[in-house]
Amino acid sequence: MAGALMTLPAGIAYLLLLLLPTLATVLLAFTDYELGATALGWIGLDNFREMLADRGFGVSVRNTLVYVGLVTPVSILGGLGLALLVEAGARGRAFFRAVFFLPVVSLTVAMAAAWQYLLHPTIGPVNAALRAMGVGTPFWLSSSDTVLLSLAAIGVWESIGFNMVLFMAGLTAIPRELYAAAEVDGARGGFDRFRLVTWPLLGPTTLFVLTISMIRSLRVFDTVAVLTQGGPNKASEVLLFTMYQQGFTYLRLGYSAAITLVFLAVVLALMWVQTRVLDKRVHYA
């Protein structure tokens, strides 16, 4: 059968590179395997018990949640605001879309370096400006009080244009006649139009943006690896960075796999909530 033959190469690659390694990760999470070790022992739930007891891991989870909690709402509301603003007129539409989208296609590692200079406590332009205004100059990335906030700001900067583009696609899909109908029906200005037409019709887009924003920010790794290495004093330790360190610095692959499973579980839970619970409330067919 031609069909089976055509799916065969993809099927083999899928099996070897995706399915088996994923299953191996699941199995690994219940072992004490360390890289280079000749034998591995089945230790059941010990890795997960260790996780619960490990204060470092708790901090990592908390930091990740704070980061997601900061980046998701700001980048979604900001992206929606930008989309409405850019779409409100014809002038400069393509230009500003390109400007806000630029961070999405820029090499994250390089831009992280640029941010490091920008936020440098002594020679950075941000603090130079604050000094000039006579305001206090925080240490941004090198203080445990502000490091998560700084990383979140960079995260928002990175993803706001992405969300904007998704919202713009959603906005153009709204039939123009609905706005005309709203006018005739008595909508009295921008807020009425937004409540009656824009917001409900953006429902599916918003849900979609919400889910992928959460998953994207849950995956924060590059900026942490480049800028803070989880520091200072674990104040910017996040889930994937902990997983990376446990696995590839300390070579504790079993424990690292257990962390990966936690990460996977959260991602799956978010997707489940999207498709099972919220989808029904925003699709009107």
């Binding site: 990760t25 393509a94 994250t108 390089a110 900067w157 992405f162 979609f208 690896a225 990376y244």
Partner: protein, 269 residues
């Protein structure tokens, strides 16, 4: 309406700030950067020194070339695997089709970080660490690509395929001579999505690459920072500019395609 432009200009300037200061610092001498003056425009130009330093100390062109090889290799295999599979899932009936499609949907749910550990162990066991193979292989299969092409091919009219079959074409020649030429919108959208995400990826290269030989641009920036630059922000920014430039230029040349490509494939995040 004038207020709209004013607000947008202000926000736009804010978003562009890192780029402006990055480029400015890349042409300023160290002494001027350390004065932390608020003027973007350099008093003295040190572009030659900064950029010269980067080019002399790290193989920038080699990093960029590695980026091209890795992204190109990944994309080539992704298409090679996904186009026929997407076509078969969309238009052909065969035993196991339901299972295959279920597997694709399952694959969509798994972030690439999840299979990373066993893949690393396997690559290490086979002596493949620090090679193009290790950089490319794990991403050659993309459930998302198969899904995207399946969706796109489902919309192709069946009559087109019937006509091709009546003209005596087999299924394979239909894929490459009828279906693929009609799949350009999906293929470019996916290509842009794929290249952007792998050009910018740090996680996997950081795991499997040691040394300059197979370093991607993202790793190049990291190496230059940790080994050479220290507090030499001028040279650091010059390196950042050089590594960021290719994709940003491509974006500026075809920004419409980029935005659409990312918007239509945004699903994968």
């Amino acid at each position: 309406m004038r207020a709209r432009i004013a607000v947008l200009a202000l926000l736009g300037a804010l978003v562009l700030m890192p780029y402006l200061w990055m480029v400015a610092a890349s042409v300023k001498p160290v002494s001027e950067i350390f004065r932390a003056s608020l003027s973007i425009w350099p008093e003295q130009f040190a572009a030659a020194e900064n950029y010269g330093k980067v080019l002399a100390r790290v193989p920038v062109l080699h990093y960029l070339w590695n980026g091209v090889v890795v992204c190109g290799g990944i994309l080539l295999f992704q298409l090679l695997f996904a186009v026929p599979a997407g076509y078969a899932l969309a238009k052909l009936r065969f035993p196991g089709r339901g299972i295959a499609f279920g597997a694709v949907m399952l694959g969509l749910l798994v972030p690439p970080h999840v299979p990373a550990l066993p893949l690393y162990v396997a690559a290490s066991g086979m002596g493949l660490l620090d090679s193009y193979t290790a950089l490319i292989a794990p991403f050659t299969i993309s459930a998302f690509a198969i899904f995207l092409f399946r969706q796109f091919f489902s919309a192709l009219p069946d009559d087109l395929l019937h006509a091709a079959r009546l003209d005596g074409m087999g299924e394979w020649s239909i894929v490459w001579r009828v279906v693929l030429p009609n799949a350009w919108p999906a293929a470019t959208a996916f290509a842009i999505f794929s290249v952007v995400s792998h050009w910018n990826d740090l996680f996997w290269p950081l795991i499997v690459v040691q040394g300059h030989e197979h370093a991607t641009p993202a790793l190049g920036v990291l190496y230059f920072r940790s080994e050479e630059a220290g507090d030499d922000f001028g040279a650091m920014m010059a390196a950042a500019v050089l590594m960021t430039l290719p994709l940003v230029l491509a974006f500026l040349l075809a920004q419409r395609r980029f935005v659409e490509g990312i918007a239509t494939t945004g699903l994968k995040g």
